[in-house]
Subunit: 167 residues, 4 copies
């Protein structure tokens, strides 16, 4: 038998709560995101910190370090991607049921200014939640001297792996 | 005065040599790529190694390490991106003139299997060289027990920064 | 001699006016967009209409027709793309100097709900203007019975072809 | 109950036959693709023709017409997308089971040369088949005077809608 994606289900999605906010099906979503983030060796390696988690939203901070750079001394596009991808994945994960895990299907990142400054901040939001796929958008900002400037934008597709624990 | 991209120039491009190979305008392209790669702090941090450089082609190897992972123990998508992006950037850079530098404009990455195994290998090739923009495609393979399996594919746009030294 | 992208210029960009609005370098931007749109045979073929043009913004409407569909009777992804791409291109074009033309370098489109309803509306905004490249984001909505629902999102890179008339 | 994507199933995929060819689970794949293509109103509107269908591969031809153009007289990016997207979707569809339908999740298209000439030919191949998602790559060529030149490349994600008839 072929495992099925129920086409009706593929269209169904978590209902946004009143006020445009998403209602997370798992009330422990924030603790769950934090525990998952803490298991990401790559986030620890680069010194990234989970900054904020809300239903359908996640932000990650990354202080500048010399060992995160490309050849011109800016933060490497792959490192910019790493925090953008994690922010998007965890934004989506806040809206997943308790027994589901998250994987990135794909994303696209535009690098629109050099990633320099004191720190980077990646922010991502769910554009479309779903039981099978979820779609997010994200931005990465460079912060210096109390000012922030946009340095990258992302569009991402996630898959909901139901029945698969995250750890 | 508005700095111009000459529309004719935007269409011109390095001529492929006979046999479908690209002819690099800079004969020292390989040494130049290696010197640039060695300045990428991020590649050193994650333990990536420049494996092969040819005109229009670059490959990068990355041995598996626990501190490169996402929450399920696979290599983090951002780390996969980092080697795919660098492989694509340096594939393009082999065809740039001696006084030009390279920046990634954007890329899109599909993650098609978990990035596990003994090492990852990112390979990228120039699809379309150019004086202003260059387009590449790349693949990331996971290698284990002498076998390789495809785990990610990339499509990337680079910009040629003429008159800007790479270091 | 190699035609150059001035790296300083590649970073420079039109200044946003106060209030977060972009100040178009060409005061006749709207008439110019409309004239260019009217030369797009593909927009006429599919019945698309230029709805609104502002600095850094463009929207396009497309009434539903049976001959625009894919096999399930929804509007074909390519047709959805066509209006999203044109909306993005013209959003960018509003901020181009009078002697420059616009070409799409690339875009990525997520189709997040079936494109059905009485009409589609594509909206796009400039995220980052520039003298060489411009970056936009867009959304396509399906409208029916006075309600609109999101059916696609786009992220796009444009190139400014200076010294090239648009017609 | 939450409809599930079985995580094991998400990893399973059709086995490639010997010789690197994919073995289609539905022996009538070609007739099914042709019937589906014939239901695409958009393909008829623009004059596209299904050229070749093999397991994991599809090509579509599009003769040049003045009413398919953007403002410079080249084929509109959205029309280029339409044939690239359909070629990718049908390449994937050849490997779907008989009771499943196909939808495009997302794609990214680089336009690398003006789409001019006597006709365009879109070719697409499955990179990774799957029971839930399938990944393809495609190219669009412009043909004139017996020569072909590459004008666009695509990377695409499809979803398998099991239990949903295609018509």
């Amino acid at each position: 038998m072929i495992p099925a994606v129920d086409p009706e289900a593929a269209m169904r999605q978590p209902e946004p709560a009143r006020g445009g906010q998403f209602a997370p099906p798992n009330p422990d979503y924030a603790a769950r995101v934090r525990a998952s983030f803490d298991r990401q060796g790559a986030m620890k390696l680069i010194g990234a910190r989970l900054a904020e988690v809300r239903p359908g939203y996640c932000s990650i901070q990354l202080p500048y370090r010399d060992d995160l750079t490309q050849q011109h001394g800016y933060i490497h596009a792959g490192i910019v991607s790493a925090i953008a991808d994690s922010a998007g994945g965890y934004a989506g994960f806040t809206l997943f049921p308790a027994d589901a895990s998250v994987l990135t299907v794909e994303y696209k990142l535009n690098l629109i200014a050099p990633a320099a400054g004191e720190r980077l901040v990646a922010e991502a939001e769910v554009v479309k939640p779903g039981w099978t796929l979820a779609i997010t958008r994200g931005e990465v900002y460079a912060e210096a001297d109390g000012r922030r400037s946009l340095c990258a934008i992302m569009q991402q597709t996630l898959i909901v792996l139901s029945g698969k624990a995250d750890d």
